[in-house]
């Protein structure tokens, strides 16, 4: 019994130490306003390791009060001419909503929250740790989520009136 306890404790110690060693680096997020209605994102870590595949969220910068308009408008504009991409995106959300139905509305999708704020859009960094996204309307945050303790949140540059007109 005692020896089993010792083995368990030793294994636990190794696990904890390994985790601490593996995640000793600091996550970094670079956000550049391209001034054309999009933002350029780059993620990385302080030790130079790759951020390929790290999750990125655009989040409405306001406490969620049952209003998904910011998300719905964003997805509507993004997938307006891309039904396949829309279907693939909704499938990734593990939503059971039938996106092919004529009655489909983005408001049918369950809201997802990040720290009590509405996630407008989910994506991930490419093999180079980069991503370009359309700006949503209103105030928003850009979230780099590489797991617990490795999250960076930055305010997103605003979509200007000129950029909004340009995108129409």
């Amino acid at each position: 019994m005692k020896s089993r306890l010792r083995v368990t404790l030793a294994a636990l110690a190794i696990l904890v130490l390994s985790a601490a060693t593996a995640y000793a680096h600091t996550p970094m997020l670079y956000v550049e306003d391209m001034r054309d209605g999009t933002i350029y994102l780059e993620g990385g870590f302080s030790d130079g390791s790759s951020a390929a595949g790290v999750k990125i969220y655009l989040v409405e910068d306001a406490l969620f009060k049952s209003d998904t308009a910011a998300r719905d408008e964003y997805l509507e504009a993004l997938f307006a001419n891309s039904p396949k991409e829309r279907a693939a995106y909704v499938a990734k959300l593990s939503s059971k909503v039938d996106v092919r139905s004529k009655a489909f509305r983005y408001s049918d999708l369950l809201p997802e929250l990040f720290e009590k704020k509405l996630i407008i859009f989910r994506s991930q960094l490419d093999q180079y740790g980069e991503l370009v996204l359309r700006k949503p309307k209103g105030k928003y945050l850009v979230v780099f989520d590489a797991g617990p303790g490795h999250v960076v949140v930055k305010k997103g540059p605003a979509l200007t009136d000129a950029e909004r007109k340009q995108s129409k």
């Binding site: 970094m28 670079y30 956000v31 780059e42 030790d47 130079g48 980069e130």
Partner: protein
């Protein structure tokens, strides 16, 4: 005093003056430094990513004689493992009566921007030899470490072993001196601090020196070509490893590997 005595005295005086001139020029030809100076070494969030770069061949510590630079053979930037040639973007300008070069560059994205220069060989008449100093400086954007320790393959190059930015006064800076890709054991390296205040075109505090020995410090690399320097003060510091290169146009050529770093006081 006889005429022969007077003639001897005149001859001695002439010899003494000539010797003084030769020594003065020799002293000034030591401590020639190729400068590659960016207007910003650390681009932080919210700051402009447009930087100005000046390429000047001068005496940075004494802020004395500046040498004419012919148009460089190559000037470029290395970022995320790709080299971009900027030679065509260089514009000539006059710095303290001598020819120098400058350009503007927009640093897009995060990471290290390693600016490198292969100058045209400079003919130093006093030594009847050419001097060619290959110089580098790293500008970082957003703190992402990407290419600062890359070996660019310059004929002579200092490959840093410490990140050449984000340095505090009191830090130790290390690098490997390489010539044609090989470490140079016991390479001699001159170290000078840019006396920015003494150059009206630069921004920074001036520096006075208690002796000539303090103007250009000299250190040596170890048997593996690695040098170490403890940095005593904030500002721009240049490290120039000087070596005998292949002859050029029938003359001796001194080849140098130079790197510039900027150091900050911890408050």
């Amino acid at each position: 005093m006889t005429n022969s005595h007077k003639s001897a005295r005149k001859l001695m005086l002439a010899l003494a003056v000539s010797l003084a001139v030769i020594i003065a020029y020799s002293a000034s030809s030591v401590a020639h430094f190729q400068i590659v100076l960016p207007s910003d070494d650390l681009i932080e969030e919210g700051e402009s990513n447009v930087i100005q770069l000046q390429l000047i061949f001068t005496h940075p510590a004494e802020a004395s004689h500046t040498m004419d630079m012919a148009k460089p053979a190559t000037f470029g930037v290395y970022h995320k493992e790709k080299a971009h040639d900027l030679t065509g973007a260089l514009q000539e300008f006059e710095f303290r009566g001598a020819r120098a070069w400058r350009t503007e560059y927009t640093a897009r994205g995060a990471g290290d921007f390693v600016f490198y220069l292969a100058p045209a060989p400079y003919y130093e008449a006093m030594e009847d030899a050419y001097i060619t100093q290959y110089a580098k400086v790293v500008v970082n954007s957003a703190g992402f470490p990407t290419d600062w320790d890359a070996e660019l393959g310059l004929e002579a190059e200092i490959v840093p072993l410490a990140k050449p930015y984000g340095l505090w006064t009191g830090n130790v800076f290390q690098g490997i001196v390489k010539y044609k890709g090989q470490p140079v054991p016991f390479a001699e390296i001159e170290v000078e601090r840019l006396n920015a205040g003494a150059f009206t075109d630069f921004v920074g505090l001036g520096q006075s020196y208690p002796s000539d020995a303090h103007i250009t410090q000299v250190i040596k690399a170890d048997g593996n070509g690695v040098f170490t320097f403890g940095i005593p003060k904030a500002g721009w510091w240049g490290f120039a490893a000087l070596m005998e290169g292949d002859s050029y146009e029938g003359k001796d050529q001194e080849v140098g590997a130079v790197i510039w770093i900027k150091v900050y006081d911890m408050e």
